[in-house]
């Protein structure tokens, strides 16, 4: 009898030990929220490509642990995003989230992230307040804020291009408002003046009515568009015979859509935290890999998802793959420091927002293909530009009616 008991307990112990071992080798589950249906699906696909590239580059393993990616389609709807986050965390047991695509989706799950204390890395949502007035301790962003690059462009337009009067035309939604206000702030601080602001609806069928309204006394036009709207706007702008130079937001001439543009895009000067033409070994390697896999230049979404995944890798290496202590992992994620990356050097500020090298880019044709040639680099630009965080955070978030304090 005793023997049987001993046998039983040994079996049990062995089983237990085996289970323990299996647990250690268990893959790390990463929930990935992308958009596969609806208007944002093109960006969602680029995000998936970027993420896949990074996982492949690490051969599916980070810090000795297998990485299992669980993908969910949020359909670009806030209510669905919340359900999908629950699905990933509660049903599939995701320990880290990467995503979602749009800012309103990220805001929709903000409270849920706090409740469940799930670390989340944003590969694309740029809403300022996510790392400013409503910072979430479990949130880290792998891209710039809406205005981060456009502060630099405002100064560049006033100081180097010597523009005095500019007309802003931008998409009428939060991202468009925020990036335009950031541009306006530094541009006016350096002696320029925004003489007119035109807001076109996100789903505008054509821009003729807006283009004809542009004040003829302006020196240049700042076009702040997202998604595919840049293609439509620049095409019509040329067809209307407009000669004024165009400044663009990062997404107006993003590599993701630049391939679908023609000569109308030539000469557009924009600012961004990334350009496929950045001439560093790390970026050349990245661009070559993207071109090999998808025969296209990486744009906003591709590089954002790729970097989100690299952030994860960097943090996992700091904690040696052990994510059981969420606070320690989050601390590691917040202290991500990459001397080399497609972006250049990256480290995070205390709000979980990367400090990035901002490049001023000009669309040029090289080897029969459009690219964003880098013409100037502002190194290590914070989301607060040159303002102190306290001073910056005291003023309300950038909006449609934002007017700079005189």
């Amino acid at each position: 009898m005793r023997r049987i008991g001993a046998l039983f307990s040994t079996t049990f112990l062995i089983g237990w030990a085996l289970a323990g071992a299996a647990e250690a080798a268990e893959p790390l589950k990463v929930g990935f929220m992308t958009v596969r249906s609806g208007a944002l699906a093109a960006g969602g696909r680029q995000m998936e490509e970027g993420l896949q590239l990074c996982i492949d580059a690490h051969k599916g393993e980070m810090a000795g642990r297998k990485i299992q990616i669980i993908t969910a389609d949020t359909a670009g709807q806030p209510a669905v995003t919340k359900t999908k986050a629950q699905e990933l965390v509660e049903r599939d047991g995701a320990q880290v989230l990467i995503g979602p695509l749009a800012a309103f989706e990220a805001l929709a799950i903000d409270d849920y992230i706090r409740q469940t204390k799930t670390p989340i890395i944003s590969p694309s949502a740029a809403a300022e307040d996510l790392t400013q007035r409503k910072p979430n301790p479990w949130f880290v962003r792998a891209v710039g804020t809406s205005a981060q690059a456009h502060h630099a462009l405002g100064e560049y337009a006033a100081k180097e291009l010597k523009y005095k009067r500019i007309v802003i035309i931008a998409d009428d939604f939060a991202f468009g408002h925020e990036l335009s206000a950031g541009f306006q702030r530094t541009f006016e601080q350096n002696g320029g003046k925004v003489i007119q602001k035109l807001w076109s609806p996100l789903n505008a069928a054509e821009y003729g009515t807006y283009i004809t309204q542009i004040d003829p006394t302006a020196d240049a036009v700042f076009a702040g568009f997202a998604g595919g709207n840049g293609i439509k706007f620049l095409g019509e702008y040329k067809n209307y015979g407009m000669q004024k130079p165009v400044l663009g937001a990062m997404t107006t001439v993003d590599e993701g859509i630049l391939k679908r543009m023609g000569d109308e895009a030539l000469g557009v000067i924009s600012a961004g935290w990334y350009s496929a033409a950045i001439d560093t070994p790390a970026n050349k390697k990245f661009v070559a890999a993207v071109q090999k896999a998808y025969s296209a230049d990486p744009g906003y979404y591709t590089v954002g998802a790729y970097m989100a995944c690299e952030f994860l890798n960097n943090a996992l290496e700091q904690v040696k793959g052990d994510i059981s202590d969420k606070a320690a992992f989050m601390k590691a994620l917040r202290s991500v420091n990459m001397p080399e990356s497609p972006y250049g050097q990256v480290k995070l500020d205390q709000y979980g927002q990367p400090i990035l090298d901002i490049t001023i880019r000009k669309v040029e044709k090289k080897d029969g293909k459009l690219q964003n040639t880098v013409i100037k680099t502002y190194p290590a630009v914070s989301q607060f530009w040159t303002y102190g965080p306290d001073e910056f955070l005291k003023s309300p978030v950038y909006s449609r009616d934002w007017t700079p304090a005189k």
């Binding site: 596969r36 359909a75 709807q77 919340k82 699905e87 929709a108 409270d111 939604f173 449609r400």
Partner: protein, 333 residues
Amino acid sequence: MIRASRQQAVLALVAIAALLAMPWLVTSDYYINIATQIVIAAILAMSLNVLVGFGGMISLGHASYLGVAAYLTIYLSTHAGVGALGSALIAIGATTLLAMLFGYLALRASGLGFLMITLALGQILWGIAYRWASLTGGDNGLGGPIRPRPFGIDLMNPTAFFYFTLIFLVLAVWLISRFVQSGLGQSLQGARDQPRRMRALGYNVWLIQWLSFVFAGFWGAIAGMLYAYYHQFVSPQALHLTTSAETLLMVVAGGTGTLFGPVVGAALVVILKNVVSAYITRWLMLLGVVFVAIVLFMPEGIVPGLRRLRETMKMRPASSAEASLPAAEERTT
């Protein structure tokens, strides 16, 4: 007739028992949350069904009540500092007032005109939510941790919250069925079928329809309050035309003019949208296929369609010709 209602009562009891047992049947909070979403969508669809099914007034603006009540609930409780109960009551009251106004405007027309007016009013609200960023947060929406704690019960717990919404669903089923059976509900159905005759009989058709419109708006507001508690976030998407259209789809798919049709339709749409989409990327296409299938095989909706099938089975030995008639006339609920 009596047998049918007893059967229905048994069915309803079984359904309620199954719903009560839900949290024990499923292991994951995820499915409880899905069930909660179905319950909320069902309340909204049932309220729209009062208009579409029993009133014959097809509205494409029903998201207005959901959205306005959700915005008010969140705004009042997290941004204006009103208590949980107070903000819920104000939100529901104000949304019902809005339904009075919208009903006054929309009921100047009927049929297609009515549909277009509700659509336009809904779009106006969507535009306001989108543009009035200082109040609504624009397309970034409004958020806030606002689930209340009635009697010290923590509604952040998914199971507790599921029961909380279930109370409202039971109330909705009960009160809407009472409404439909009441004199007002009966005269509403009369006004749907024979408005001129009703008028000739001395009924104030406009008033009947307006009161029903407000009643539907009230339940839409309840759904909106629950929506706000559940998501703890609201954005213009809640007011968008797609939300209205989706709700109409639930009603039509489940069966207009039946009590449980909208519940079934809500379950169908929510499950397709949230659960099936995890396995099938093209779930929108699947939704389309399912809808086409419903239109082809059960043009009256799932619930009446299944009832007809059952009758056909029963009657087959006798005569199958009569039973294959559409069950549109059969609105015994």
